[in-house]
Amino acid sequence: MSKQILLKNAQLASGEVTDILVAGDRIVEVATAITAPSETEVLDCTGLVALPGFVDLHTHLREPGFEQSETVLTGTQAAAMGGYTAVHAMANTMPVADTAGVVEQIAGLGIEAGYADVYPIGAVTVGLEGKQMAELGAMANSKAKVRVFSDDGKCVHDPVLMRRALEYVKAFGGVIAQHAQDPRLTEGAQMNEGKVSAELGLTGWPSVAEESIIARDVLLAEHVDSRVHICHLSTRGSVEIVKWAKARGIRVTAEVTPHHLILDDELVRSYDAVYKVNPPLRTQDDVLALREALIDGTIDIIGTDHAPHPIEAKDCEWNAAAFGMLGLETAASIAQLVLIESGKSDWNRLVEVLATKPAQIAGDAENGQPIAVGSIANITVIDPKANRTVVAESASRSINNPYVGMQLPGRVIHTIYRGYQTVKNGELASRGRGRND
């Protein structure tokens, strides 16, 4: 059993200030002026905000196969430092997470690490090759209980395969998370196609390559009455298509990454490969559209697309560099910047986009629970007034962090994962939650 933890004078998303008592892996009391029972760790949360632990629907943990970039352990440590209590591990590992064996291995590594719940995402197609459906049922029925399937990194481009996958996962309440990218329209693509790519002489990744797939997939989802989740929306046009689809009653959910909310393609002028990501950084106009859509609900969640890469994959000429950037340890700050500091939204919305909705989309019953008596004790405590300069050193094994040197608001002070403190006063716990914690 964990010892008891009492959070004093924490502000909830609603604005209400209260004490929260955690015993074992549960929240046992939420009230003002709780007296600490004996053997209780008391955390003074005056001026801090306590929120449900965050849930990332889009994480690359890289293990098995790419342990030089990240492992389940280091990735979940980075998650804990970012206030997350659950992550969904994308399937593009080596071997690919396309069998029950691999997804069970990843889930097991998550339990062993003990820093966050690790939900493996299963590949839609064998080897992410887009040719033959992977054993989705076997992964769903495995101990990992996979419910989210994605070929992320690659698009399920074949319309027949996509249709069948959307239909098939209805058998076990699954969802297909689509990486929307028409492969023919993006051959050799290096950055957003537009004014900047023309000047830099880099092959363009046109927005239509994303939008045309989203348009097709929402229509397919409607036709077969299934759910589709769109990963990392990056353009104004994508927002408009999703808005249209939702108005039509189509069961589509949409995700935006933190980086697409604050960075734009002007940064590529430096040819610094830290800004190379897929989908690419778009224009400022797209950034503004994505922010509005996150605020008005057209976009449901923030997914980090945390994509660690070793130094040599970024310390090179642009064309040779890998796509992807870190995100777990900065996502909450960016959400705060866009939703709170902008004055356009509130903490309730931040909780929705970082915790409640991602858990709902993925069907994680044990995450995204409200801060209330009986809930599993997944709690993130943030200092909203902190202002920090992002540094390269972090819990992640990689340093491909585009925010280094930037000032961001907010800091994660404590992360409580199933009643165990993975982060305390901004410091990572030296070990994860064990079976007896």
Binding site: G194, A198, Y271, W318, A320
Partner: protein, 319 residues
């Protein structure tokens, strides 16, 4: 002048004119019997070519040798780069050897910028063509060639104010076009791009050039002083940019008929190597209007001027 030459856009009008003027002096050296200056004696210049380009390499090499630099040719073919050595390792090796300047040709856009802004190497970086991005010394030699044809012996000190330049062909993939529109507009020229819509960027609003699809119409309405034909790379031929080479040559190629439509003083340029019969026909290529060989000759003078500007300042600081 700055330490590196990465983009034609890095040069101010004064700096560009200064380089053109220095090149005038260099071209006088090149007309002498003993074509050699001691300026870069003791300096090591590396020609780092990750992409085949015999012409550009030879031009730089001659320029370096005429300035008495020690020249090392590092070609990615047959070197460890083809075994997977990174740009970083190559650069650090050159730094360890003691290169004062690196002339780099690379198939990746931005490779010269990456080299210059890394801390892998301290020497001057000269961009000799990076992917489909820029080729600043080509733009300088083109400007030099235009200035000489237009102003003759009165060239020194002059810019290209009011000169109308039409650049025709594969703008989308052309580093020559990108560098030229930057430099020519800095020098006061008016640039017109002519290409099939498939070979123009989807959004060319950042270009300092007017856009045209129709070559004949542009020739008739704009009456350019200079027409620059771009080489059509073989890899574009079967990628649906245009139906056939014959159709391309008919609509966007330069030929005797179009030569006749030019005003008397107009010149036709080509960065070479030419696809005769495709973007330019033999009559045009071999006509007195063609500056193709002058461009090659001027290339040496311009590269001498660039090397001199970047490296000799350092020398005087040393003293």
């Amino acid at each position: 002048m700055t330490k590196h030459l990465l983009s034609a856009g890095d040069l101010s009008r004064e700096q560009a004119i200064e380089i053109l003027d220095i090149a005038e002096g260099m071209s006088n050296v090149n007309d002498r019997e003993i074509k050699k200056l001691p300026t870069l004696r003791g300096k090591t210049v590396v020609n780092l070519f990750f992409e085949d380009s015999t012409r550009t390499r030879i031009s730089f090499e001659v320029a370096e040798k005429r300035l008495s630099a020690d020249v090392i040719n590092f070609s990615a073919k047959g070197s460890s780069v083809s075994k997977g050595e990174s740009l970083k390792d190559t650069a650090q090796t050159l730094e360890a050897i003691g290169a004062d300047a690196v002339v780099i040709r690379h198939s990746a856009s931005g490779a010269a910028n990456v080299l210059a802004h890394s801390n892998w190497i301290q020497g001057s970086i000269i961009n000799a063509g990076d992917g489909t991005h820029e080729h600043p010394t080509q733009a300088l030699l083109d400007a030099f060639t235009m200035r000489k044809r237009i102003h003759g012996a009165q060239s020194p000190g002059k810019a290209l104010d009011g000169v109308k330049v039409a650049i025709v062909g594969d703008i989308l993939h052309s580093r020559v076009a990108r560098s030229n529109q930057l430099l020519l507009s800095t020098l006061g020229a008016e640039v017109h791009f002519v290409a099939p819509p498939t070979l123009l960027p989807q959004n060319a609003s950042g270009f300092k050039a007017a856009l045209h699809y129709n070559l004949d119409e542009m020739l008739a309405t704009e009456k350019p002083d200079v027409v620059m034909m771009l080489r059509l790379q073989a890899e574009r031929m079967n990628a649906s940019y245009f139906p056939t080479e014959r159709e391309y040559a008919r609509i966007w190629g330069f030929n005797a008929g179009r030569l006749g439509a030019l005003k008397d003083s107009a010149i036709v340029m080509h960065p070479g190597p030419m696809n005769r019969g495709l973007e330019i026909d033999a009559v045009t290529a071999d006509s007195p209007r063609s500056t193709v060989l002058e461009q090659v000759t001027n290339g040496v003078s311009i590269r001498m001027a660039v090397l001199y500007s970047l490296l000799s300042g350092e020398r005087s600081a040393d003293v």
